[in-house]
């Protein structure tokens, strides 16, 4: 303890000299993570294809329905290439994905890409807006409750959000419609139908209820994770140490506690976006919002296999991609992990 002034603050930071090039390690980890993601994604394409095209009720039958004649089925099978071997079918679909040839919709013959493209933009916008708002609310409330642990506000927040946890999206959506768009008040539109070519950001009022639904559904989880992670960080030994060393509470919080809550928080934020990717299916259906979720539901009614395949693939790819991104950011935000 010859130089306590320096040592105090550096208790949690390991001197750089103790490690050999952390960046090389990071690069290796990231490369491994990406490689694993690519493999996962490849297997995802196999699962999607197998589920839609090889399963017993085959696609041609699914399209034409029970009353189809054998001739009609075999004609369509030929048109869809279903008479070829599964591997060759898979290969032409898979290689098509890379050449931008996503096939044609069975419902109206339009290219899958031009049908899904605009929907994808709409959905991405909805997810981004709901994710950003939900994250901000969830993180702030979680921090607030953790810092006021066991005070009245913590209890009020915890109990309220517990009651909101695990409400199904469609129940939340319908109740919001009931309250704000039909029975009680009539201040907001009950549906979020965009006219063709209209961008969602040009119609903010339409987006209020779908966004609110997604925010209400996700905030409780974010809140609980952030609260728990912050409390854990506040109770850790190094924070205790910093406190015992006489640092001011604000300094303890900002310099020592919060950095250790960042990695878990980033992970929750990432998870939240993943959750939203699944949640939009029902929410878009509730509000008739023209995104890929509603498109997927429509495609399932029409048994429009190429649309289903590509939509599911996009959602799964989003999952794999987001996982890599959050893992890497969390890794960079956790100094301890880097120096181990």
């Amino acid at each position: 303890m010859a130089t306590p002034e320096v040592a105090r603050d550096d208790l949690v930071r390991l001197p750089a000299s103790r490690t050999r090039s952390p960046w090389r390690e990071i690069r290796a980890l990231v490369a491994r993570r990406v490689a694993l993601g690519v493999v996962t994604l490849f297997l995802v394409t196999v699962v999607v294809f197998a589920a839609t095209q090889v399963l017993p009720g085959n696609a041609a039958y699914a399209v034409l329905g029970h009353s189809a004649t054998p001739q009609a089925i075999s004609a369509l099978e030929k048109e869809m290439g279903l008479d070829r071997s599964a591997v060759s079918q898979y290969w032409s679909w898979f290689s098509g994905l890379f050449q931008g040839d996503l096939g044609k919709s069975l419902a109206n013959g339009e290219p899958v890409g031009s049908l899904i493209g605009p929907r994808l933009e709409n959905s991405a916008f909805l997810v981004a807006v709901s994710g950003a708002i939900g994250t901000a609310i969830g993180v702030l409330l979680g921090l607030w409750a953790a810092l006021r642990r066991d005070k009245p506000i913590d209890h009020v927040l915890s109990v309220t959000l517990l009651a909101l946890t695990s409400l199904p999206e469609f129940v939340v959506g319908i109740v919001l419609v009931l309250v704000f768009a039909s029975v009680l008040f009539h201040v907001l539109p009950a549906v979020a139908v965009l006219s063709p070519g209209q961008a969602p950001w040009d119609a903010p009022k339409l987006l209020i209820l779908p966004t609110a639904t997604l925010v209400i559904v996700t905030v409780p989880y974010l809140f609980r994770m952030v609260r728990a992670a912050t409390i854990e960080a506040l109770e850790s030994e190094y924070v205790e140490m910093a406190r015992l060393n006489g640092l001011s509470p604000l300094r303890v919080l900002v310099r020592h506690a919060l950095p250790n809550a960042i990695a878990p928080t980033i992970q929750v934020i990432g998870l939240n976006f993943l959750y939203l990717a699944g949640g939009i299916v029902v929410v878009e259906f509730v509000f008739n919002y023209p995104g890929i979720g509603q498109g997927l539901v429509n495609a399932v009614s029409d048994r429009d296999i190429p649309i289903i395949q590509f939509t599911v693939l996009v959602l799964a790819a989003f999952y794999v991609f987001m996982n890599i991104v959050t893992d890497v950011i969390a890794l960079l935000a956790t100094p301890r992990r880097l120096f181990r």
Partner: protein, 315 residues
């Protein structure tokens, strides 16, 4: 003292009875807390409505009795739905199938997931790698989307809903149970029976799985909640349980257009689904808090709900 000793040697492995007592203890502890008691009460109430409803319903679930969206009156206490059917009767009929399918899907998911997770953790090596890579791939599909994918080809069959929901739960269950089983597999009593030459299958069944009772209880509660959300949600979008027999998810969607004329056919089932999921969730929460302690439970449940890698050991 002689008879218990004999019993342990001949009968059921003693660990099972110990664990059974432990799980009852946890359950009793959970029911003593405010959230546990409230959760159990809500859950039992809604399950009661679903189970006894068909016996109490004043009319058939598909009888046409009034004008579409007729307002509540003396003959139809909650009014009529889009086709003029009695809303009260449809609500009373509309829960049991939903609950049965959800329970069956949950059971399947827990069994498959536990088997995969325990084998991965206990056997390790290439079996572990194979199982966990499969888990990674399956986790990439949002649960509802996964079931939709199956339904899109085979059609909305009830058995398919059970299988689809079960399979969509299995990866996350496997991940949680694997991380718990990894810890259990290293314990002394497991090592001890291994030295005695007990075959691996038996060690897993009789020593490892019974020690996972806590994560299993929490997992079952969580999965049941999601099963209900998924099946009600699928029915809501039209690909779950099929008309004309009533179910709560479907009712909400088919009567949306008449919300301003008669809101009961939407409100009543929505309320029941909400009370059920909230009740189950509170009960599960209470169980986790008793079993894991408040702070670990908070983090474990929230992480799980969003589908995270288990960060907290749950054994």
């Amino acid at each position: 003292m002689s008879s218990p000793a004999v019993a342990t040697r001949t009968g059921d492995a003693p660990i099972y009875s110990v664990r059974r007592r432990e799980s009852l203890h946890i359950l009793r502890g959970a029911l003593k807390t405010f959230r546990g008691a409230t959760g159990a009460l809500l859950t039992l109430g809604v399950v009661g409505v679903a189970a006894l409803g068909p016996l109490l319903a004043p009319h058939g679930g598909t009888d046409l009795l009034g004008a579409p969206f007729q307002k509540p009156g003396s003959d139809l206490p909650l009014g009529a739905d889009e086709l003029g059917r009695d809303v009260l009767s449809r609500v009373l009929y509309g829960g049991w199938e939903l609950l049965l399918v959800a329970a069956a899907g949950t059971a399947l998911g827990i069994v498959v997931g536990t088997a995969a997770g325990v084998v991965a953790a206990y056997v390790r090596g290439s079996a572990d790698a194979l199982i966990m890579r499969t888990v990674d791939v399956l986790l990439a599909f949002p649960q509802l989307v996964f079931v939709l994918l199956l339904v899109s080809v085979i059609g909305p069959k009830t058995w398919l809903l059970v299988v689809g929901v079960g399979l969509s739960h299995a990866p996350q269950v496997a991940r949680v149970l694997r991380s718990a089983a990894l810890d259990v597999s290293e314990r002394d009593y497991v090592k001890a029976v291994e030295i005695l030459g007990v075959p691996p299958g038996r060690v897993m069944r009789r020593e490892v799985v019974p020690s996972l009772i806590t994560p299993l209880m929490v997992e079952t509660g969580l999965r049941m909640t999601y099963s209900i959300i998924i099946i009600a949600g699928l029915s809501f979008v039209g690909f779950g349980l099929q008309p004309p027999s009533p179910n709560w998810g479907l009712m909400i969607n088919e009567n949306r257009i008449g919300l301003t004329q008669n809101s009961w056919p939407v409100l009543a089932p929505a309320l029941l689904v909400a009370l059920l999921t909230v009740g189950l969730n509170m009960l599960t929460d209470a169980i986790a808090r008793v079993a894991l302690g408040v702070d670990r439970a908070e983090r474990a449940i929230a992480a799980e709900a969003l589908g995270a890698e288990p960060t907290v050991d749950v054994a």
